[in-house]
């Protein structure tokens, strides 16, 4: 998913190490759950994204160093999983499921309503104020509650186009 590319060029933000203090302690605790360091890769990447909002090449190198992997290997893993952002995204990241079960219940209209009301205009682009990125995603595993939408970490069920303006107000 190539979200937010239009907004920032990757690497423009200053590099900041993520694994210091409490975050490093969390990683160390996570490492105790697995028989080797590599297995902590997905959790470590989540910690980066939690702290920084996205995962830069420099932070991938930081993770690689900590887990005894190469930066190229880490990048290969990051690119496999759609939830890791390789570029900054809007302050609010909106994911609308438009796979068939939701699609037949009007999911594409929900996605369009988000584009309109957030000013993001185009799927995958970020709104001019930097506040919103809207993407369509495949099945969110809540098909009976069409249309499910994720706004950041919040999972919202049964969204219809008429509920979108209020949601946008709430998160703005």
């Amino acid at each position: 998913m190539s979200a937010g590319m239009s907004m920032h060029a990757s690497g423009t933000e200053e590099y900041q190490a993520v694994f210091t203090g409490a975050t490093l302690e969390r990683l160390q605790e996570i490492l105790t759950r697995y028989p080797n360091r590599q297995a902590a890769l997905l959790p470590a990447l989540w910690l980066v994204q939690e702290a920084r909002g996205w995962i830069s090449d420099r932070n991938m190198a930081e993770v690689a160093e900590l887990l005894g992997l190469t930066p190229a290997y880490v990048k290969g893993v990051v690119t496999f999983y759609t939830m890791y952002h390789q570029h900054p995204v809007g302050k609010n990241f909106v994911q609308v499921c438009t796979t068939s079960p939701c699609n037949i219940c009007g999911a594409e209209d929900v996605a369009m309503a988000f584009l309109e009301h957030t000013g993001a205009k185009e799927l995958g682009a970020t709104s001019p104020d930097g506040n919103w990125t809207v993407i369509e995603v495949e099945c969110l595993g809540a098909c009976g509650f069409a249309t499910p939408v994720m706004i950041n970490d919040d999972f919202i069920e049964s969204v219809t186009p008429d509920k979108v303006p209020e949601l946008v107000r709430k998160y703005r």
């Binding site: 893993v77 939830m83 099945c139």
Partner: protein, 426 residues
């Protein structure tokens, strides 16, 4: 967060008995309802005795393949020479399926209890519950429940950890999941070796679905004979099944029925039927990876493993996708093909190329630029995508396409002949 519907009198509430009851989510609430009693008893039992009981119950895997659970557990080495692992499949990403999420949301301790019993039965030192990355709410509930249960010390020596996915349907495939836990790209592995011989970290491993494991404490509590008795049709399909019904019904949601329940009654009785003025067109009964049924077939299907096979489809994960006469099946099948193209790990040529080309050809038809020969081309592609790859993602893409063309050919032809206006830009 949504609450489940009020149970219908024709449902059989076994796994869903406590759905909607927030108190059952807490450790105290679970214990008050008799929870963890079975785990205590199981921990004092010989692993082989638990496996025998589960075998006798007829429980089959609810993740899609329907493999007998007790038999799968019995493949693990009896004599333990290396660490054993259990992986719990909570990756639930098959379009149409949303039952495991409901189990985790409402009865997290039920899942943990079943997990710990299974871990004891296969002598697993460590268990990872792999929860798809998008299930943030289910994650929080599971995390809280796990912390509570650990604080109460109910698991003994068994270690249970949650592991978060990061957006990849393929990680629901068991060997892809093992790679993902190992910190790798989620590429499925060639089998053999099977997980029970060399799985996670190369060690003997068992992978089970959430719904499968949630049934285990109830089987121990009420006995294998009771579970086996939950059967309306074929004795090879026992117990209850959570059916996730979505799409064009009045009351979508999770319904728990005894194996062998008529699909027709599920749709028209439990789910309130079609929307006013609409009629049933088609049903995909087992998640998007299984062949589509037309109305006639759907209305005569009995929902168990054999009943679905009899109609040329599969019970799969129990995700029932309902299309009424307003649905554009060509467009929706294209969307499913696009799903598989998006989710292909791209290791196998047949899958990488096949899912992408299937999508492109369907898009071309929907744009009014299709040729009659495209339908044969799609079928030919599908043939090359079936039974030829490391995992069955490729086959899953072919299933709705082949059955769709076979049963609803006129809808495809209407786009090709120009009788139907293009719905997407060329």
């Amino acid at each position: 967060m949504g609450f489940p519907h009020t149970p219908h009198p024709r449902e059989t509430l076994v796994l869903s008995k406590h759905f909607g009851d927030t108190d059952a989510r807490t450790y105290k609430g679970w214990v008050k309802r008799g929870g963890y009693e079975m785990l205590n008893q199981a921990l004092a039992m010989e692993p082989a005795a638990i496996i025998e009981e589960v075998k006798a119950s007829g429980l089959r895997g609810r993740g899609g393949a329907g493999f007998p659970t007790g038999l799968k557990w019995s493949f693990m080495p009896r004599e333990k020479k290396k660490p054993h692992y259990l992986c719990v499949n909570a990756d639930e990403s098959e379009p149409g399926t949303f039952k495991d999420r409901e189990i985790m949301r409402w009865t997290p301790h039920g899942l943990l209890e079943g997990t710990a019993i299974a871990a004891h039965a296969i002598q697993a030192d460590v268990t990872y519950i792999y929860i798809r990355g998008e299930f943030t709410e289910a994650w929080d509930i599971m995390e809280r429940a796990l912390a509570e249960a650990n604080a109460a010390g109910v698991f003994g020596k068994i270690k249970i950890y949650l592991h978060r996915g990061a957006g990849a349907y393929i990680c629901g495939e068991e060997t892809a999941m093992m790679n993902s836990i190992e910190g790798k790209r989620g590429n499925p592995r060639i089998k053999p070796p099977f997980p029970a011989a060399a799985g996670l970290f190369g060690m003997p491993t068992t992978i089970n679905n959430v719904e499968t494991l949630a049934a285990v404490p109830l089987i121990l509590e009420n006995g294998a004979a009771w579970y086996k008795g939950l059967c309306l049709s074929n004795p090879k399909s026992t117990g209850t099944k959570l059916l996730s019904v979505c799409g064009h019904v009045q009351k979508p949601g999770n319904y728990e029925v005894t194996m062998g329940f008529p699909l027709k009654d599920l749709l028209y009785d439990l789910c309130g039927g079609m929307r006013p003025g609409r009629t049933l067109k088609a049903v995909i009964p087992g998640g998007s990876s299984v062949p589509i049924l037309n109305r006639e077939e759907a209305e005569s299907t009995l929902l168990d493993y054999e009943g679905c096979v009899e109609k040329g489809t599969m019970l799969g994960s129990g995700g029932v996708i309902v299309f009424d006469d307003s649905a554009d099946l060509v467009y929706q099948i294209m969307r499913l093909a696009r799903f598989y193209a998006h989710e292909s790990c791209a290791q196998c040529t047949q899958c990488r190329e096949g899912t992408a080309w299937t999508t492109k050809i369907l898009e071309r038809i929907l744009a009014g630029q299709g040729k009659m020969a495209d339908l044969d081309l799609l079928l030919d592609l599908a043939d090359n995508m079936t039974g030829k790859t490391i995992c069955v993602l490729s086959d899953s893409c072919a299933a709705p396409v082949v059955s769709g063309i076979k049963k609803f050919r006129n809808e495809f032809e209407a786009y090709i002949t120009g009788n139907r206006k293009p719905v997407i830009a060329a």
